[in-house]
Symmetry: C2
Subunit: 220 residues, 2 copies
DNA sequence: AATCAGCGTGAATCTTGATTCATTACTTTT
DNA sequence: AAAAGTAATGAATCAAGATTCACGCTGATT
């Protein structure tokens, strides 16, 4: 017997694993999920195509890992922003504006992970991430309703609708072109729409949106 | 010289053409755009695979025709409903509720044509249909703003956001399951969200939604 | 240093569908 | 009914990518 998996080896394996996901992510961010193909990913990660299969049984699993990673990041950002806010309504506002800003910042990637056409198998994976995000939003909506800050309504449907609104309005094919100058403006506009959709009156919604200044955080 | 294209022949050709599109549409409605493949479409249309190419230079063109047909129908329905309404705001309400109802009625098809993952080429085609719809909505939003029924806002972004909201909220992967019993309820909920998003206050929005009874029109 | 287990390789193989094209079957014209 | 031109056919061809695998390489163990 030889070659026990020492720490060093384990670490190397983990690094490879992450490197592959990172390569996939980079490609997705640049050219969409469709461009996430084994050969290019491997090339980018500096390994052979076959090697990818030592880390992921199938391409679907790789894409799944990629989607999960991105989703997790989005949800964490939403939660962080919401938790830092003083009340349920501003929590929602902060969370939504954070999501919107994030989506816009990593536009291509966000679209790849949540909207871009791929295939049925991948779609299932996406669903999980998307649902997790919707659930998170739903929770906050419920809280705001409970606190009397929003009219009573079906929080699940509202959450789903908001997710669609954000995605399509900011990064979908209909969204305004990525004019850097107007990014902030668009984020605010969408957030305003979202808050009003929930039943916040115009004036109050505008106030909430302006209040929640976009933090300039970053991360690929 | 022989075989001039008589009426009879021309008619036959047109029927074939339509039959192919219809077959594609049926398959898309049942199993999504991904299932729209030459062989199955041909089989369904009762012809050989090669024949499809006598009518469409490439698969992309066939899919394009399908998408265009469905989009046109949706836009016509929206316009009809909006035109029949008494004022700009109720026109919007009626149009949106019609779209929502239509999407829900032909759920699979609507998703195939507007949301389902396929490939980049098809995406371009979709864009046209989606954009046409958004433009139509945008127009109505502008009218309502001009009439002082809505707060001033970026109508283009709002329209895009609404389209996303409707699609995701009703037929996207996050949408509530197609519980026939609650269909009407969901349509109303989404429409309510949409109107409020535009800045209509809750109470008024609810009134508009209830007013616009869903016409029981139909068409595959 | 010798040995061994698992890692890495990348060319070859497989799969899935779109697309082509030589051939056959129809329609129309004379 | 023969001629002449189209339409339809569907098996064969192509293309794009995912996946496999026999073999060489490396680090771990003794």
């Amino acid at each position: 017997m030889a070659y026990r998996r020492t720490d060093r080896v384990l670490q190397h394996l983990a690094a490879r694993h992450d490197g592959i996901v990172a390569a996939a992510r980079a490609i997705a961010a640049e050219s969409g999920l469709g461009a996430v193909q084994i050969a290019p990913v491997a090339a980018r990660a500096g390994i052979a195509a076959g090697t990818v299969y030592r880390y992921f049984p199938a391409k679907t699993d790789l894409v799944g890992a990629l989607i999960e990673a991105v989703s997790a990041r989005d949800i964490a950002a939403f939660r962080r922003a919401a938790d830092a806010a003083p009340g349920p309504l501003s929590a929602l506002a902060a969370g939504l504006i954070t999501l919107a800003a994030q989506a816009l910042r990593h536009r291509r990637l966000a679209w790849a992970v949540s909207g871009e056409p791929v295939d049925a198998a991948v779609d299932g994976l996406r669903l999980a991430g998307r649902r997790a995000l919707a659930t998170e939003i739903e929770l906050r909506i419920r809280a705001a309703i409970a606190g009397g800050h929003l009219p009573d309504q079906n929080a699940a449907v509202a959450a789903a609708a908001l997710v669609g609104m954000l995605l399509e309005g900011l990064i979908g094919p209909l969204a305004p072109p990525p004019d850097a100058g107007k990014a902030r403006e668009n984020v605010q506009m969408i957030t305003l729409l979202a808050l009003r959709a929930l039943g916040v009156v115009d004036a109050r919604a505008r106030g909430l949106v302006v209040q929640s200044a976009l933090p300039a955080e970053d991360a690929a």
